[in-house]
């Protein structure tokens, strides 16, 4: 067993902090936002592909729970969580987070209910076109999705 050591060290990023000549948070945010706009189109296509995967996995479980399908559904929803909020689809990202939470609870408890999955996939469909629904309606739907996930314990 080696003796524990604690020591100060040179933080490599520390040298990037500068009073002048660097980027402020405002400048950096604007420049980065312009850059990520370049990948908007492929990212939205990727989100739609993940939504299609979720729908396919849902259909695979018409007859009952399937561990592999649940895992793929979770991964697809988790990838939507990572990207949707960057391109004006924040509510879709939150709905996907609710689906992750629901699937995670199914996985840990061994319970399964296709109707609850359907509620979530319907929520995802609604959030994919946020302009068609008022902000108040979307918030109410998200609140419902959170309650659906919390009901599984």
């Amino acid at each position: 067993m080696k003796a524990p050591k604690t020591f100060r060290y040179e933080n490599r990023l520390a040298k990037t902090v500068t009073p002048h000549g660097g980027m402020t948070v405002g400048e950096a945010t604007r420049a980065a936002q312009l850059q990520i706009e370049r990948v908007r189109k492929p990212t939205i296509a990727h989100i739609d592909a993940e939504l299609a995967t979720i729908a396919t996995m849902r259909d695979l479980m018409k007859g009952g729970a399937d561990a592999g399908a649940l895992a793929k559904m979770y991964s697809a929803a988790n990838r939507i969580v990572a990207t949707a909020g960057l391109f004006g689809l924040e509510d879709l990202g939150q709905a996907a987070y609710c689906l992750c939470e629901l699937v995670s609870r199914f996985q840990s408890t061994g319970k399964f209910n296709l109707t609850l999955i359907d509620v979530n996939t319907e929520g995802l469909r609604l959030m994919r076109d946020p302009g068609k629904h008022s902000a108040a309606d979307r918030q109410a739907a998200l609140k419902g999705l959170k309650q659906v996930a919390a009901s599984v314990s």
Partner: protein, 195 residues
């Protein structure tokens, strides 16, 4: 925190993400931050090779790498005795966070955990935070990484501190007169002198 300026133009960044989409988004983000040296890896194996060869100023790792590979990767980087990235700042990104994952991330030696989606502002703020992180580094059998204590509350009640700068729980005898309440108030809430 927003007042600080960062010049990242000479920094090198290693991005480890499980999808090309997320790699592309983060890559573009760091291009926006004027980083010129960006290495992207989509597998832990690739990342291990890159981290074993090159010293990076920042490593960003996805917690959702297959088979919990992110935690093993971070732990491996920290435990590589003469590795070029043993002390490198490591930021872990998390999507839906399963209970215990954040604890696991911290225990593997990550400097900071950030929840997705990661907007440019969130990322820049976290990089600023990392740049100003002055915690000590801990190297022992069960943990290698930045000190997990972010605040100095001293050792847990009833336990002897293990660090050389931990103060004893025993309070010694007074060495001078007690401070008056007015003196204590002045320390906590100093006022400008009026001429």
């Amino acid at each position: 925190m927003s007042d600080h300026q960062l010049n990242l133009s000479r920094s090198s960044v290693l991005l480890v993400q499980s999808t090309t989409t997320e790699l592309d988004i983060l890559g573009q983000m760091f291009v926006g931050f004027l980083v010129k040296s960006i290495r992207k890896c989509q597998t832990v194996e690739e990342a291990q090779q890159a981290a074993g060869r090159t010293a990076f100023d920042l490593i960003v790792v996805d917690a959702d790498m297959p088979d919990k590979g992110a935690f093993a990767f971070i732990s491996g980087v920290r435990r590589q005795a003469d590795g070029p990235n043993k002390l490198a700042p490591i930021l872990l990104t998390c999507g839906h966070t399963v209970r215990g994952a954040v604890r696991e991330a911290i225990d593997s030696g990550a400097n900071f955990v950030v929840a997705k989606p990661i907007t440019p502002k969130i990322m820049f703020d976290r990089v600023v935070w990392l740049a100003r992180d002055d915690r000590e580094f801990v190297d022992c059998d069960v943990y290698v990484g930045p000190d997990r204590r972010r605040k100095s509350f001293g050792p847990p009640a009833g336990e002897k501190g293990r660090r050389h700068d931990d103060l004893s729980v025993e309070v010694g005898a007074a060495v001078g007169p007690d401070m008056s309440q007015a003196a204590i108030d002045a320390m906590l809430n100093p006022k400008k002198a009026v001429a």
